[in-house]
């Protein structure tokens, strides 16, 4: 069986584990290492740097092994970071002297059981319950993070003194007698085992076959469902091992452990040559991807010696220091590398650029171009057909229930009624209603843009980062460049739209999967946003700009107009301009999606791009516009954000991408494309906002512990998706009724 790889077909045995792609990665690492050695010869010139590189990439490398199996299967696992953290918390609970205070063995056993349980839940959700991998594992990420915070109460749990009595275990995270950290051989062992399994065993062939073409694999007799569950088990097991390595090294756990690690691991696997579209992946490449990401981090944080001048008590003092790149440089470079690494395969290797250049230099005829095809593979989707049929035949309230966004709308109403029940004295009052709407506005604006992208069958992970980028540029223009509000807004808008155009160019123009292109933009935009402001807050500019974040009454007062009387006056005092703006954008976007030709083209493109192409729809234009519109919404949110807060904070918009995607999915949007309504997305965003509002509601002087918010959002997300798939689409209750009727003779 000839397996295609990033470098072509597999050759002899060594190349089955590592090929030309890995050689390229090695060359890039060597180059980076040389740069490091040039900047800091004393560190990079010694073995210490090499040792540090291997040690720091060990845990990412172990997680990348498991992720390679999942990605090669055409699945995804966003839960590995939270699994790592949760394993650490479980260990701390079982082992910690202030908790159960048991030994290492029961603690490790509990961690392994937990890891396998998470893998099993992921696998069952994805294969048996047919939840899209992205959503299933995103849910586990939310729930995992919620549990980490809930169980730790946000505290680090350390046990260095008790750990001294269990040296045999904790030395696994420390330097051994030979002078190197034990995590390195652990990682190398896991990588070796993973590489052999994927490249040389039945499990590996089954994985590649399932990812390459699941239908063909089924016909070939491969139990694809089990293969996919198995990959999730392997992935979770690897995350568990990484979690145990973390506790062995740190002798404790912090609530941040594993935060955003999933993105680093996915980036490593993709840089390592695996295809996000399945059917291709090599464990050694993934490990080298992890090495490369960590090496970039190390080299970019290096600096050159300088002398700084400080004014201390009026006296100029010269201080020896080190010049380093400002905050944000590292993620920006990682984002660029991620995109470039994925582009190299289709545009350089497959097109034989090197061979053609070599032939050109020797004035020889170039080798023929292979059929390059494209990177993106668009599969026909027939999801939701039954629900659509029901919608056509249903009447009255049934017609409403047949809508995919009905659940979110009902849930919104239900949650609002819960609020009313709990606090009838003020919940429904105008000021409280508009306060809730104000909290809802940013997420709703982002969700409107994401609806377009998700309905088109794409995804945008960069919305929170683009929000920060636009805000950062506008704040810098106002504060540092001293521009007027309109120019600053224009500049922020231009940069945000540029980010959207880059997303569109990479996704539609160059054929990268939207997940990868926008993951790259997530890093780049977040990094550049921090870089521009040198990682600091900016505040104190013309109040005229801040009017776009104020209440209508404030604006009237600012321009010297009297407060209107009656209901309009009361509303003006509580309604914010940003809320009105969001409503206007949502109304226009909703109308375009529901009633204009572009909306129908968007659904057609998302439903089945090939069919839409044949129907004469310019699907490339449709998808590009959706991505640019999404970035526009995030940009508007960013420009409003700095006006609302009267300052820019580099953490602006953090985690908004996850909330936004969750809102669209809760609102009935299909992660496969072809469906999604603005009303649904708004209802989804309302559900998330209301869950938070209820958790912080004062009920007879009691409020819920805040740490559990994410767990609640996760449970609602998975509940909404399961109900959509099983109750609406598969009509499980209808089937049940049918069977019950059949068993009873008339």
């Amino acid at each position: 069986m000839a397996l295609t790889t990033a470098a072509g077909t597999l050759g002899r045995r060594p190349l089955q584990f590592a090929g030309g792609w890995e050689v390229g990665l090695l060359a890039m690492m060597a180059l980076l290492y040389l740069v490091g050695a040039f900047i800091n010869p004393s560190f990079f010139g010694s073995l210490d740097a090499f040792h540090a590189l291997l040690r720091d990439s060990a845990r990412y490398g172990v997680m990348a092994v498991g992720m390679t199996f999942v990605i090669a299967n055409k699945d995804l696992d966003l839960s590995v970071g939270s699994t790592l953290g949760l394993v650490g918390v479980t260990f701390a609970y079982v082992f910690g002297p202030n908790h159960y205070n048991l030994g290492v063995v029961p603690a490790v056993a509990a961690c392994l059981a937990l890891g396998l349980a998470i893998g099993l839940v992921n696998g069952v959700l994805v294969t048996i319950l047919k939840v899209p991998a992205f959503i299933a594992t995103l849910t586990m990420l939310f729930i995992g993070r919620g549990f980490i915070l809930g169980l730790t109460g946000g505290q680090s749990i350390l046990y260095p003194i008790k750990a001294r009595d269990f040296h045999w275990f904790f030395q696994l995270g420390e330097i051994n007698a030979w002078g190197f950290n034990n995590q390195i051989p652990i990682a190398l062992t896991v990588v070796a085992i993973g590489a052999v399994i994927l490249a040389k065993t039945r499990w590996g062939y089954e994985t590649i076959a399932t990812g390459g073409n699941e239908q063909a694999a089924v016909y070939a007799g491969i139990p694809t469902r089990w293969v996919r569950v198995r990959a999730y088990l392997i992935s979770s097991l690897c995350a568990t091992v990484a979690g145990l390595m973390t506790v062995a090294q740190d002798k404790g756990i912090s609530p941040q452990a594993g935060l955003t690690a999933e993105l680093i691991v996915i980036a490593s696997v993709i840089i390592g040559g695996a295809s996000i579209l399945g059917g291709r992946g090599r464990v050694v490449g993934s490990y080298m991807g992890a090495l490369l990401v960590v090496l970039i981090n190390k080299v970019l944080l290096e600096g050159v010696p300088i002398t700084r001048t400080l004014l201390i008590n009026g006296e100029e003092v010269h201080v020896r220091a080190v010049y380093t790149l400002p905050a944000g440089a590292v993620p920006a470079f990682i984002g660029v590398l991620l995109v470039v690494a994925v582009l190299i395969e289709p545009y350089v290797i497959r097109r034989r650029v090197a061979q053609r250049l070599w032939a050109y230099l020797r004035s020889k005829p170039p080798p023929p171009l292979p059929d390059s095809g494209g990177v993106a593979i668009v599969g026909a989707q027939t999801k939701g057909a039954m629900a659509t049929d029901k919608a056509l035949s249903a009447r009255g309230f049934g017609k409403f229930l047949a809508r995919r966004d009905a659940l979110a709308i009902m849930l919104t109403v239900f949650l609002w009624l819960v609020g009313l029940y709990l606090r009838p004295d003020y919940w429904w009052h105008l000021p409280n209603t508009f306060a809730l709407l104000l909290n809802y506005t940013e997420l709703a604006l982002i969700a409107v843009g994401l609806t377009y992208v998700i309905a088109a069958g794409d995804i945008d992970l960069s919305v929170g980062a683009v929000l920060a980028l636009a805000g950062s540029v506008a704040a810098y223009s106002l504060k540092v460049l001293g521009l007027d509000p309109v120019s600053a807004m224009g500049l922020g808008l231009a940069v945000g739209l540029l980010a959207g155009a880059v997303n569109a160019g990479l996704t539609v123009g160059l054929g990268l999967p939207a997940f990868i292109a926008t993951l790259g933009m997530f890093y780049i935009a977040r990094g550049v946003a921090s870089w521009i402001v040198a990682g600091k807050q900016l505040t104190g500019w013309n109040e005229g700009y801040n009017l776009i974040g104020r209440k209508v009454g404030d604006i009237l007062a600012y321009i010297g107009l009297p407060r209107p009387a009656g209901l309009f006056g009361a509303v003006a005092q509580v309604v914010s301009v940003q809320t009105l703006w969001m409503m206007l954008v949502a109304a226009i976007a909703g109308a375009v999606l529901a009633f204009m030709p572009y909306g129908q083209r968007l659904y057609a493109t998302g439903g089945n791009q090939r069919a839409a192409d044949y129907a004469g729809i310019n699907t490339r234009r449709v998808r590009s516009l959706a991505l640019v519109f999404c970035a526009l919404c995030a940009t508007m949110a960013g420009l409003i954000n700095i006006a609302y807060f009267r300052s820019f904070n580099p953490v602006a918009g953090q985690f908004r991408e996850l909330d936004g995607i969750a809102a669209v999915i809760i609102g009935g949007g299909s992660i496969f494309g072809g469906y999604g309504t603005v009303i649904g997305a708004l209802a989804g965003a309302a559900v998330i906002t209301l869950v938070r509002a209820l958790l912080q509601l004062n009920i007879q002087s009691f409020v819920m512990p805040q740490h559990w918010v994410n767990a609640f959002v996760g449970f609602i997300l998975i509940g909404a998706v399961l109900i959509d798939i099983w109750v609406r689409q598969a009509n499980i209750f209808g089937t049940l009724r049918y069977f019950l009727k059949r068993e009873k003779p008339a």
């Binding site: 730790t152 350390l158 700084r308 003092v317 010269h318 080190v322 580099p650 953490v651 994410n710």
Partner: protein, 361 residues
């Protein structure tokens, strides 16, 4: 004899005067504080219990920018203790994020100030300029505000809002202590680093790092040893960028890259336990003068194990306790807003046993 009579007369006169004044005082004191609860006061003066909410129960809320990293736990404890003392209800709220999240805090504030049963609000203000609308709305709704922990000098109506917290300049104590530690150990050269995540955007933490940095430079300069040391707090003087999501490895990498680190300072509850862990993992316990911030359980453990040389407590218990009391005084007694600087309490391995017994740190 005459002298003896005079002495007796003086003693009698003095005793009489003292007894008289004690009588006078005890009446006033008893009336002022002796069990003078709201209920008792209400018997004497109608309207004493007519707080903003007019429901007979004093209800305060404390909202912070991160309930997710443990620093604010003793703040909440302090607020609860104070509320229990005066028979008030207290709502403990904050962003669920483990890292600073002022945006989420403002969401909570937007909602809570609409609650008609709320009589007073305590909040942190880590994002400059972002809280003015909250203050205005709360004022319009009749809810007095006290700020705690992070300080926004330009907040609307600053003069009428009490602040309880530490002036960031107190971090200079750690800068001084760090240099003293180095000189005591006879360090002749090396690097002093200030790891931080400036991208977390907490202006207070950045100011602390700046203060500690400048104090360390000044102390070395005064000792005539500045030229021998590299003192690095990043390009902006607010810290060397380290990944807040993986702070331990970030600091270990920093130590390894610099190669000659002899001193380090971390400015908050995220980086201080990480600094201690990094010291332990690099096997430099006792070799690096490592100073940090806050006195949570992780810091106390690190001080006991010697991985942390010293830590500055900012009296978080008091940052919860005092604003509640302050609001009570404002509401009940009409006492105007007073600021309280909780300063810094430097705790070392020798003194760590004296603190944390009742979760006040």
């Amino acid at each position: 004899m005459r002298n003896a009579y005079l002495s007796i007369a003086a003693v009698v006169a003095g005793t009489t005067l003292a007894v008289g004044s004690a009588w006078a005082q005890s009446g006033a004191v008893n009336q002022a504080v002796g069990g003078y609860s709201f209920d008792e006061a209400a018997k004497e003066a109608d309207g004493t219990k007519d707080f903003h909410s007019n429901d007979g129960v004093l209800t305060f809320a404390i909202v912070t920018h991160t309930a997710g990293n443990g620093f604010f736990d003793p703040v909440y404890v302090g607020a609860k203790v104070a509320a229990d003392l005066i028979g008030a209800n207290i709502l403990l709220l904050g962003s669920e994020s483990p890292v600073d999240d002022p945006a989420r805090e403002i969401e909570i504030l937007n909602q809570i100030i609409q609650d008609p049963t709320l009589d007073g609000l305590i909040m942190t203000t880590p994002q400059a300029g972002a809280y003015d609308d909250i203050v205005r709305t709360a004022r319009n709704n009749g809810i007095p505000i006290a700020t705690t922990n992070s300080f926004d000098p330009g907040i609307h109506d600053r003069l009428n809002i009490s602040h309880t917290g530490q002036d960031a300049s107190a971090a200079a104590i750690a800068g001084d202590a760090l240099v003293k530690c180095l000189l005591d150990r006879g360090a002749e050269s090396g690097s002093i680093v200030f790891p931080n995540s400036t991208a977390m955007g907490n202006i207070e933490v950045n100011n602390r790092v700046s203060s500690a940095y400048e104090a360390a430079v000044a102390a070395l300069n005064a000792a005539g040893k500045l030229d021998a040391f590299t003192v690095d707090a990043g390009p902006e003087g607010v810290g060397i960028q380290v990944d807040p999501n993986d702070p331990v490895n970030g600091i270990v990498s920093l130590f390894e890259s610099r190669g000659d680190v002899v001193g380090a300072f971390a400015g908050n509850n995220v980086f201080t336990p990480a600094l201690a862990q990094a010291v332990a993992q690099t096997g430099m316990t006792g070799e690096i003068c490592a100073y940090g911030f806050d006195l949570g359980p992780a810091q106390q453990e690190a001080l006991k194990s010697g991985n942390l040389t010293g830590a500055l407590g900012q009296q978080p218990f008091l940052q919860g306790f005092w604003p509640v009391m302050q609001l009570w005084l404002e509401i009940d007694r009409g006492i105007s807003a007073a600021n309280l600087d909780t300063r810094a309490q430097l705790v070392t391995e020798e003194t760590v046993g004296d603190i944390g017994k009742r979760y006040e740190n």
